[in-house]
């Protein structure tokens, strides 16, 4: 049996029945990484010893009749933005190149309690700032569907690892689309949960009012299993919602008959590729055929989402990243004075996109500009939230493309930061609203590249989100195996 082809739900059954051991499953994942990694480069660090030791402990407990977690023995790829005690955590940046955190992130603790086996830490755009994984300080990651194309970003490494069948599960973070956009570009399910559903304790901060951790998987059910394992209240994060995770599995197969699906009028504009539009329209038609009531809705201020985001996120990042000053951790470049040491350290340690965003944020927050930029962006944020509230009076979920384009070529947008920012035009509004959203693969374009449909729901509406995605997944039967010209399958054949 090819264990690396199995999804998490299948592995749970096999492991629970004793048909396979956690060590066998982990070794299969590590062997697969060995074969795919020279082509994809999804991982900054493969944690083979640690993973095999954890797997052996799971097998020992299983044999002794002791309890094991709900994801026991399932391999998982972890974005290098989450702190792992004693294990290098770089956030894709030179400034944290050799940083070993003294503690685990809450999500890492919960993954350990669930007995998911972390096989490695994955590549990412530096400090999660980017939409292509090209802003990693170390190397770019490649899309398993076409190795000359980007996997998307910023969670490009976790997504590429799951798309390459290195592991069935991945953890990403999403501040403006950093889970959903790469999931769309690599043919996977990716979820940005409600803000506050998953603890940010030990998550390296980018924009604190927007950052959220979420699951990446090849199936909707696997994504629900992973979110259930990592979500829930954590008193160490003051923005953590003091409620349990909504039950995601009870209504998973309830279908969409009678649900009202809103198509966002404003999310059909310029820059959308015909192949994306065709697949998304076909998927929406299937929702109608399955019994959903498809209606058109308007989010009149959503068009200002990217503008508001590129004031709010850089402002928060310029404040959050002030901690990288060469004093407490990370890189230090010497200087005659403390200020000179700090300025040289930050200039040497940050890449160009991080510098750009720190500069935008510093400017937007500086004396005389705060009201016109940051405060005005926050008022527009309120109007976008009100738009969503009005739309949900007429429908249960909203749908749109996840990304206006399929995967683009490496280097294609590197010279034009603004063009790169527009990759997130449909994903950003959900971050601003703090509401959950999911990307589901709905087919491929004429070039054979995956297209993602975004499904959005109201705050804490995860159950209906997964229900709609599951119904469409069962209907479309998308095959997540990357194939076609220049794909991973082709180079491995």
């Amino acid at each position: 049996m090819d264990l690396s082809a199995c999804d998490a739900a299948t592995l749970r059954t096999l492991l629970g029945n004793g048909d396979v051991s956690a060590v066998e499953v982990t070794q299969a994942s590590l062997d697969r990484i060995g074969a795919t990694e020279p082509h994809v480069k999804a991982f900054l660090r493969v944690l083979d010893e640690q993973a095999l030791a954890h797997a052996a402990d799971i097998d020992r407990r299983h044999a002794a009749g002791e309890p094991v977690g709900p994801l026991a023995g399932v391999p998982l790829a972890l974005k290098d933005i989450l702190c792992t005690a004693g294990v290098e955590t770089t956030c894709g940046s030179r400034i944290l190149e050799h940083y070993r955190p003294p503690y685990d992130a809450a999500v890492v603790e919960r993954l350990r309690a669930a007995d998911a086996v972390v096989v490695g830490k994955t590549n990412m755009d530096e400090f999660a700032m980017g939409s292509s994984c090209e802003n990693s300080a170390f190397f770019p990651t490649r899309n398993p569907w076409d190795l000359d194309r980007v996997p998307g970003g910023s969670s490009g490494g976790s997504v590429a690892a799951v798309a390459a069948f290195d592991a069935p599960l991945g953890i990403g973070t999403d501040t403006g689309g950093s889970i959903r956009q790469p999931a769309a570009l690599c043919g996977l399910v990716g979820v940005k949960p409600t803000y506050g559903l998953v603890s940010r304790y030990g998550l390296i901060a980018f924009a604190s009012s927007l950052d959220q951790v979420g699951p990446i998987a090849r199936t909707v059910t696997d994504a629900a299993l992973l979110l259930a394992a990592i979500g829930g209240h954590d008193p160490r994060d003051s923005t953590s919602i003091p409620q349990p995770v909504p039950d995601l599995t009870a209504a998973l197969d309830a279908g969409v008959d009678g649900l009202r699906v809103g198509v966002v009028r404003e999310f059909t504009g310029d820059g959308m590729e015909p192949g994306v539009r065709a697949r998304v329209d076909a998927a929406i038609a299937r929702l109608g055929a399955l019994g959903a009531d498809v209606v058109e809705v308007s989010l009149p201020h959503a068009g200002y989402g990217v503008s508001a985001y590129y004031l709010i996120a850089p402002s928060e990042c310029s404040s959050n990243l002030s901690r990288y000053d060469g004093v407490r951790y990370g890189l230090r470049v010497d200087g005659a004075t403390t200020e000179e040491m700090m300025a040289r350290t930050r200039a040497a340690g940050f890449g160009s996109e991080v510098k750009r965003r720190v500069m935008i944020g510093t400017y937007a927050l500086s004396a005389g500009y705060y009201d016109a930029y940051y405060a005005q962006a926050q008022r527009v944020r309120t109007l976008i939230i009100r738009d969503f509230e009005a739309a949900y009076e007429h429908c249960d979920v909203l749908v749109s493309p996840t990304s206006p384009t399929t995967a683009f070529r490496l280097g294609e947008r590197a010279a034009d930061p603004l063009a790169m920012y527009l990759s997130d035009i449909y994903t950003i509004p959900s971050n601003l609203a703090g509401a959950p959203a999911l990307s589901l693969p709905v087919g491929t374009d004429d070039a054979g590249l995956p297209v993602g449909l975004q499904v959005m729901a109201p705050v804490l509406g995860e159950a209906v989100l997964f229900r709609v995605a599951r119904a469409l997944e069962a209907d479309l039967r998308f095959d997540a195996t990357p194939t076609g010209r220049n794909s991973l399958a082709e180079v491995l054949a």
Partner: protein, 97 residues
């Protein structure tokens, strides 16, 4: 908004970034472009619309006022580029006069 190179140098100083001349020139054009796009938020009549800082309404989240274990000092300084006697070491800040 079009920024001058002096504006960019001023912001770089505020941000504690020792940028090279080539970076200043590149950022002058890039920041002007990005801010011109971001400034579209100014087209929206927001009147008395309140700003949203966090999307989920939670306020005054406090922990119980009870002592609990925290990170030991030696672990806290173990990651520092320079530490001495359990403290972070930095270049001189105040001149001896």
């Amino acid at each position: 908004m079009s920024l001058s190179t002096d504006d960019v140098r001023h912001v770089a100083r505020l941000a504690r970034l020792a940028l090279g001349d080539d970076e200043i020139v590149a950022l002058q054009a890039q920041l002007s472009d990005i801010l011109a796009y971001a400034e579209k938020v100014g087209e929206v009549a927001t009147g008395d619309v309140p700003p949203t800082g966090h999307a989920y309404p939670l306020a005054d989240v406090l922990r119980d006022d009870e002592p609990r274990p925290s990170l030991p000092p030696d672990a806290a300084v173990a990651t520092a580029p320079q530490a001495e006697d359990g403290r972070f070491r930095v270049p001189r800040i105040v001149d001896e006069a």
